[in-house]
């Protein structure tokens, strides 16, 4: 690993650990190996959003050319959000692509991701299905996102109705996660979700 990259990550690591956001349990960075090429991040779902109460884990890979090229970041925790793939966790965010600047840090990245959770950009989607639901059926989107936060990110339990639908499909013999994806995709219509899984 290039000297600059390692130097920077060590420094940044200290910066994040000491920052106010860490003491407030808002963001967190951990080392995965000794070479500083891979890190694990965590952000708290912002308050007054469907992600409130959830803890979202992130995989952060540091390229050889860091900080002249952005870190590669994706969600490990499953999340229902227009700019994040519900399948792979890939993120569509400008500062992780062409708007990256060498003077940006992991802390800015994590805070930007938190801001993205609070303000989605459905016109620049990563997940077309989620983005469409966000735009055309926002109340259902909010319920679905909250439900996913509860199911995968340890968020508070809230929506009995949705949980029961997942359980009913599970009882039909479907895999729980697949059932949740199908129900979320089909606006929680059990019949259509079952058809979707069978076809």
């Amino acid at each position: 690993m290039a000297n600059i990259a390692e130097q920077r990550i060590k420094r940044e690591f200290k910066e994040v650990v000491k920052s106010d956001e860490v003491s407030a349990f808002n963001i967190k960075v951990e080392l995965v190996n000794d070479t500083f090429t891979e890190l694990r991040g965590e952000i708290a779902g912002p308050p007054d959003t469907a992600y409130e109460g959830g803890k979202f884990k992130l995989e952060i890979k540091i390229p050889e050319t860091y900080p002249f090229n952005p870190p590669q970041v994706k969600f490990v925790t499953k999340i229902w959000h227009p700019n994040i793939s519900s399948v792979t966790g890939a993120i569509c965010l400008d500062i992780l692509k062409d708007q990256w600047a060498a003077a940006m840090t992991l802390r800015t990245v994590l805070l930007s991701l938190q801001a993205l959770l609070a303000a989605a950009e459905p016109d620049d989607p990563q997940d077309a299905v989620v983005a469409q639901q966000f735009k055309e059926n926002n109340p259902i989107f909010q319920r679905t996102a909250r439900h996913w936060t509860c199911a995968y990110a340890g968020g508070p339990k809230s929506d009995k109705e949705l949980e029961e639908k997942v359980v009913s499909m599970k009882n039909m013999g479907f895999d729980e996660h697949k059932a949740r994806v199908a129900l979320s995709t089909k606006d929680w219509d059990v019949t259509r979700a079952a058809e979707y899984l069978i076809s």
């Binding site: 600059i4 130097q7 920077r8 420094r11 900080p67 002249f68 090229n69 600047a101 060498a102 003077a103």
Partner: protein, 490 residues
């Protein structure tokens, strides 16, 4: 050197017939030279006359050196006028598409505001260095102050980091759009700074090559020839959707958008059409098969020529390949085959029926578009057949080479007319209903009828009377010109 330029210019007059006045004796000499040199170019029909040709377009080919000189002249002129550095002037021209008057006006009104809007300076001068040995915020190393550099925004970083930053950007092909490394700072880095910092000479070459490309691309009057490995740059008086033919690589393209010439269709419309065709071509290909049955005796016929006026080899029935109708009804006034008949009650139908109707409409135009493209290919073989036959005839003392040139002229004109005809279909597809569309389709039908007549006669050139054929050529070209005059947006 001057000899080179002369040759180019006279060559250019071949392409656009507009450059030489033909008054000076030097020009005359060149013309005579040209006459003996370019024997094959006599067949070139793309020499529209200036007066009333809707396709007329003035342009000239430039070599990289000439283009560089031209750009440098413009850059220098702006430098002197605004009293800014050449790198700054270059960036201003690039960012404002070389609109010199506009740049001068805006700069003189509010110099700093204009530079801020152009991302060439920032609202306030930043100072991010603390103490006698500040830390570079990119590499986190402390250096003495003289190791730090920056652009007009004032954000300072160490020399090594700038060097790495430029290397990474240039590797990604970014040159004229390299920004400052600070967070959310859009200020651009100018050429002088990049070249001062860059340590590898190889990358400096890459930088100047890529930035030259950016300069040309941003210039409204210059275009790279899209031909494979062709280094020619075409210069025109104005940026219009007109046909350019590169004399070096023979590529022909639309000056404005750089793809195949597409009159009478406009640039954005043809782009939509081509994307649509790419997306939907599977279905369309499946539906339009290569063979059809004769509508009368039902023998299977494979189309092996470009002409759409078909004659069944069995029963001798004359019919139209496109609509399978009797060819007689394709006379002239009744030629309806190019016109799509829309379901008049469509608005009241269900979504499903509307979708089917939309597909049907698209397929109608697509089939005709595709069919003319195929005919163009098939007619290429006719042209080569004519060439071989002509050679045979000349060898057998049946007339001279010159006597038979009219056949090649006919084939070339047929190609040109059919090409325009092909590109009338995307135009018609995107046209709104109304009297203008009725007129367009009428003229399209007229052109189509004459193109097919011409094709029929060219394929039977040996048994067609020369006067008859030349008359047909004239009629077809007139129809093409009329359509373009009325519908080609200038």
């Amino acid at each position: 050197m001057s000899g080179d330029v002369n040759r180019q210019l006279s060559h250019m007059s071949e392409a656009s017939s507009c450059y030489s006045d033909g008054n000076s004796s030097e020009d005359m000499d060149e013309d005579i030279d040209q006459y003996y040199m370019d024997t094959t170019d006599d067949l070139d029909l793309d020499c529209p006359s200036k007066t009333d040709d809707p396709e007329y377009f003035e342009y000239e080919p430039l070599q990289v050196m000439d283009a560089e000189r031209l750009l440098n002249e413009e850059i220098e002129a702006l430098c002197t006028k605004l009293k800014v550095s050449p790198s700054m002037a270059k960036m201003l021209l690039l960012r404002h598409n070389w609109q010199k008057e506009e740049i001068i006006e805006n700069y003189q009104k509010d110099p700093s505001g204009f530079l801020i809007d152009s991302h060439l300076t920032s609202r306030r001068k930043h100072d991010n260095l603390i103490g006698p040995r500040p830390m570079c915020s990119v590499c986190c190393v402390n250096y003495p102050r003289d190791r730090f550099h920056g652009v007009t925004c004032g954000h300072m970083f160490c020399q090594d980091c700038w060097d790495m930053h430029f290397q990474t950007q240039i590797q990604d092909g970014i040159t004229t759009a390299i920004e400052c490394m600070a967070k959310e700072c859009p200020v651009l880095v100018t050429e002088d700074f990049v070249c001062e910092v860059l340590t590898q000479p190889k990358l400096r070459d890459k930088y100047s090559k890529f930035s030259f490309n950016d300069l040309i691309k941003s210039h409204p009057k210059l275009r790279f020839c899209p031909g494979v490995d062709c280094a020619v740059i075409i210069k025109a008086k104005e940026s219009k959707a007109k046909k350019v033919e590169c004399q070096t690589c023979k590529a022909s393209f639309c000056f404005r958008c750089g793809i195949s010439y597409h009159a009478p269709t406009e640039c954005d419309v043809i782009k939509r059409w081509l994307t649509k065709c790419e997306d939907d071509s599977e279905t369309a290909n499946y539906i339009s098969a290569h063979t059809k049955d004769c509508p009368r005796c039902h023998v299977c016929i494979e189309k092996n020529g470009g002409c759409n006026h078909m004659q069944c080899p069995e029963c001798k029935y004359d019919f139209c390949w496109m609509c399978l109708g009797d060819w007689k009804s394709h006379g002239s006034e009744y030629y309806e085959c190019s016109r799509y008949k829309e379901n008049p009650n469509i608005a009241n139908e269900s979504v499903h029926v509307q979708a089917r109707e939309a597909l049907k409409k698209y397929l109608f135009y697509y089939e005709r578009w595709e069919n003319h493209a195929k005919s163009l290919q098939l007619e290429e073989t006719t042209t080569s057949k004519i060439t071989t036959r002509t050679q045979e005839k000349v060898m057998n003392n049946q007339g001279t080479w010159i006597d038979w040139q009219y056949l090649l002229r006919a084939a070339a004109l047929l190609k040109k007319c059919r090409y325009t005809l092909q590109y009338t279909y995307p135009y018609a597809y995107y046209m709104d209903k109304g009297s203008r569309k009725v007129l367009f389709e009428y003229q399209q039908a007229q052109l189509e009828a004459e193109v097919e007549n011409l094709s029929w006669k060219v394929e039977r050139a040996e048994i067609t009377d020369r006067g008859d054929l030349e008359n047909q050529m004239d009629v077809a070209e007139k129809r093409r010109q009329t359509l373009l005059k009325d519908f080609l947006e200038v």
